[in-house]
Amino acid sequence: MSRLAKLPLIVLLVLLSGCITLMSPYDEKFDQLASDLQRKVSTQIEAIDGADAPDCLYASNKAFYDDARVDASALAVRAASHELNSETIRQVEALTDSINTFEELHKSASNATPARCMSSMELSPIRRAFDQTLGAIIKLEVAKKRGK
């Protein structure tokens, strides 16, 4: 059967099926995890911003990155468990890369001679970027409620 000949059949099937779905359903647990991680990252950046050496240095904050990676991994697993969720999966990949990159920046500052705390000016675009990254993840998840 040609593609054109199949068209009325496809239209009929769509009508009979009631409705179509192009995106995964809302995941409340995912939304909660993402919101918790947003708070965690925000709190960490505030803590580094106000601290002096050695509290501001990477060695004193390594646990945060490990913890954030565990949270991002949990988000990735939940995102991958849904069909039609490629956008959210890509967002979580970007988030994970940003956590690793932030860690690299923190190491770089701490390994400088002499070791230095990351400045407020340096943390400003990082803070904004994490707010945007996680904000966009949450925004898309909430949109999946579809007005319910």
């Binding site: 009508l15 400003s124 990082i126």
Partner: protein, 111 residues
Amino acid sequence: MSAIDVNAVGSEAAKKIIEILTGAGKDVVSYAQIEGKKLAQSAAEIAQLRLTGQITDAEMKLHIRIQKNASISVLMAIKGISKIAVEQAINAALKIIGTAVKGATGLPFPV
């Protein structure tokens, strides 16, 4: 069985699609503008950090990578929200068509 007014039903379905997509489009444009400004502000700050020697070239690249990831996340949100709007528009149109078909034929369309 009464006849289906194809023109009227088609027009009503199209109107609903346009209404939903226009509403979603306005929201997406507003969101994109706000996030675009934030990215521009961050880029300016990173350039200033490098110009004043507060960060190295290697650190600047890492900063830009974080910004790139933020823009990916924002664009994915826009793409996903747009897909949801298309889904809602199609389903609203199908509901209109299904109601009309059910009314005219008595066939139990799931609307």
